[in-house]
Amino acid sequence: MEIKWYIFLSVTLFCIGIAGALTRRNAIIIFMCIELMLNSVNLLLVAFSKMHLSGIAAKFPALATDAQLFVFFIMVVAAAEVSVGLAIIVMMYRNTHSVDINFLNRLKN
């Protein structure tokens, strides 16, 4: 497959995530849309690493694993982020009895 189809797929997933984060009001669904955007970026990183594998990595084999390890660290950080974010959502639900983000405008004034 040409690289441009992977770019189009990742961009499509990213824009679906953005549209979901802009249109929904449920905080958990917005959080899931952020996870969707993270995954589309991961997919594009792996596709680029695979694209450069034939050119660069023939001379420097250590470089070929860099992008995949980068994706691995993104997954690690995403896992930590999800645990803290869900704790924040649970606390918000406990205080307001809702996960509607329109209740969260108290910092506005």
């Binding site: 497959m1 040409e2 690289i3 441009k4 189809w5 189009f8 797929l9 961009v11 499509t12 997933l13 824009c15 679906i16 995530g17 953005i18 549209a19 979901g20 802009l22 249109t23 929904r24 009001r25 958990i28 669904i29 959080f31 899931m32 996870e35 969707l36 995954n39 991961n42 997919l43 792996v46 695979k50 694209m51 594998l53 034939s54 990595a57 250590a62 070929a64 694993t65 860099d66 995949q68 390890l69 994706v71 691995f72 660290f73 997954m75 690690v76 950080v77 995403a78 896992a79 930590a80 999800v82 645990s83 803290v84 869900l86 704790a87 959502i89 649970v90 606390m91 996960v99 509607d100």
Partner: protein, 166 residues
């Protein structure tokens, strides 16, 4: 069309359709289930690109752990009973239009500039196996690995501190 092309289009359509299902379904539980479908499709893409370790990690970490955490929180809050109050129609249309505009801008900017390079698939290298990745991880990336353990510790402490009743 070769087998890898058929698999690519199948997995892409599955990923995009399930992603639309995530943002379109009213019940949050269905959104979580659609997101698991997206993660499985992305794992299939990783396998097509010879990143087997990442595919397995994606399934275990995302579909196995994170999504179960989401489901657990949704069940805990009992959200599936109440209907989510809908946004104004204008706001919804504005969000959709801005997302579509971003998509159009990205595609228009990247379709002309991208070289027609091929992404090799299925076979050719064993870069994505756990042996090579583990060697690189524990030789060149030891310090980020250890720092990520500190990050996890702080995430655990933060989640407990935020989540406990005061």
């Amino acid at each position: 069309m070769s087998v890898t092309q058929i698999l690519f289009w199948f997995l892409s359509l599955l990923a995009v359709g399930a992603a639309i299902g995530v943002i379109a379904s009213r019940n949050p539980v269905y959104s979580v289930l659609w997101l698991i479908v997206v993660f499985f499709a992305i794992s299939g893409h990783y396998i097509l690109m010879n990143a087997q370790f990442l595919a397995i990690v994606n399934i275990i970490v995302y579909a196995g752990a994170i999504m179960v955490l989401f489901l657990f929180v949704i069940m805990l809050m009992n959200l599936n009973a109440e209907a989510e109050p809908a946004k104004h129609l204008y706001l919804k249309m504005a969000g959709l239009i801005s997302g579509l505009c971003l998509l159009i801008v990205f595609v228009a900017a990247l379709s002309g500039s991208a070289e027609a390079k091929n992404v090799g698939q299925l076979g050719g290298s064993n870069i994505g196996l756990i042996k090579n990745l583990g060697r690189a991880l524990f030789n060149d990336y030891v310090i980020p690995f250890e720092i990520s353990s500190v990050l996890f510790l702080s995430a655990i402490v933060g989640a407990v501190v935020i989540g406990k009743k005061e």
